[in-house]
Symmetry: C2
Subunit: 337 residues, 2 copies
Amino acid sequence: MSLNTPRTRRPTIYDVAKSAGVSPSLVSLVLQNPSKVSEKRREAVRAAISELGYRPSRAATTLASSQTKSIGLVIDDFRNPWFVDLLRGMESVFSPRGYQVTLADSRPGENRITEAVDGLLAMHVEGLVIAAEPSESMMAGTWVPAVVAGWRNGVPAGAGLITNDDDGGGRMAAEHLIGLGHTRIGHLSGSGGAAAHRREGFRRRILEAGVEARIAGESRGTSEEDGYAAACWVLDHHPDTTALFAANDTMALGAFAAAKARGLSVPEELSVIGYDNSPLAKSRYLDMTSVDNRSDIVGSGVANALLARIQDPTLEPERQLIEPDLIIRGTTARVPG
Amino acid sequence: MSLNTPRTRRPTIYDVAKSAGVSPSLVSLVLQNPSKVSEKRREAVRAAISELGYRPSRAATTLASSQTKSIGLVIDDFRNPWFVDLLRGMESVFSPRGYQVTLADSRPGENRITEAVDGLLAMHVEGLVIAAEPSESMMAGTWVPAVVAGWRNGVPAGAGLITNDDDGGGRMAAEHLIGLGHTRIGHLSGSGGAAAHRREGFRRRILEAGVEARIAGESRGTSEEDGYAAACWVLDHHPDTTALFAANDTMALGAFAAAKARGLSVPEELSVIGYDNSPLAKSRYLDMTSVDNRSDIVGSGVANALLARIQDPTLEPERQLIEPDLIIRGTTARVPG
DNA sequence: CTAGAAAATTGGAGCGCTACAAAAACTGGC
DNA sequence: GCCAGTTTTTGTAGCGCTCCAATTTTCTAG
């Protein structure tokens, strides 16, 4: 049978051409610009294509045309939910322009970021989006425009930067709690660029209001356990604390656990505010007040900046901050008493 | 300067060869099998490579060698956390063998699964892992081995299948609750293949024990909201219910919300068991009893099956069930009273 | 010192496709 | 029926790499 010929060679453009009785060039034309081909041949070619189950070889196309209409996205960890929004934002501008985005993760220890970039460049991507801690060396000899998304420390010269205004977000969180009358506020922080900016924005606004900043976990991680440990520290050293600002939603979950262990009810006795507006925060059960960093907007901004630089490589790399949003839900309330 | 020549053509193997004073073939040899090249030339070539910032073109390599050492993974949604474990399991066997895995998501409405498969095949992947609802048409004219991971309905002929034993998992959940003395048990189900199997396994064990099965949400989705709605239905129609089995952890979160709204405490008055052993279930705060579907094992099983069929294409596609694990945590307890 | 074997290196064809110039097939107007 | 203009189709030459046979160099032993 013709339908079930499994172990056969992958069909090429020549097979299609022969089967349709035309030249290979004509088949290629049908693939790229069907309107330039007479209806008769076009249909013959299309029939042959589906008959043979032909799929163009991207490798050959890339090699011959030296443009891939693809851009590479390096992310540090698939478990980090923010990249989903980033990707969605990126695709909203890339897809209509016919660009495809290819993912590479650079989990530390497995393949480092340099390897991820190398792999992407080997695939002839036309541009690079770095959603991971960038490194100077990674850019060595990079010949395509790159933009860093969502990180602020050590952005290599020559790369653009579009990121969430984490300072602003920290300030917003502080503002919200101060507005609710809180004056004894703790912050669960972590190491890393984003956490540092959130912390600084928070600290500055808190000090402006003449309130003491109770900050824990600056040099630790940002997991739920880290959040729990930091919350325990704050609540044990400052038992009069009435509000906690966590550097992300997962850490806020740790804060909930610490509160529960101490018999403190949220938000009646302890207000908690998270960051990221992740699915966790949106959950009906957790219903968490959180700062939304608008990663979708970052994504579309990144895409636009990259596209501009692909079209005009002489353009200067852009730097841009995206304003976050405070989403008020059920874990923050007026100060008790 | 030689270091900073940004807008220049991407260096090729010829550039490297010229710069190192050897033939292109020799450069190619260094790249693939350095031990066959004399130390002197090898070093010269390596120096030239890093001097020029040369990266091999994957397109050219693929075309010339007609083997890519890459396999394609189609997933239905990046937000679904189980694919992370699947991927990890796959990489644990692919990486040591030098295979790379390329991701393509097939979110419905954007690019359908057929397009994702087409894209992957265009990249000359040597095998395909489908972690999404498969379709018959997607396999039309596919010339590489494929295996479906984690879905059981409508698996195309010719594709292998490695999946979690969802029947077994449902049975385990029922078993656990019955063992705790519960006799009035509700189940929050959903549409879709996995949910159906979990439901059936659960129902069968429940009926064996002579307990009535209170099942809700069979034709709805599997989000937290769906879980909430189903839990409300069960708790309102059968107020004497003492335990709830949710088809996944997110739905269990909905069950928590429903319990909270009714002033029922978990697990004292209501036991809740989830499915997936997702980060949610592992959370210190939520501390959820859950069925672990061992997606990592599925991943490595898939990888092994695929590798075997790549090496020997005449092999019959394999079908295999992976036994789940019950992880008992703090949301289930002996029946009250 | 030299034949013969082994190791190191090279030239050239070809992977599947596109780009572009050249050829072929149609137009319509006189 | 013929010519200029237009549309459609087709060779041909690469794109950057690998593979393999052929060639050159190096080594071993008599």
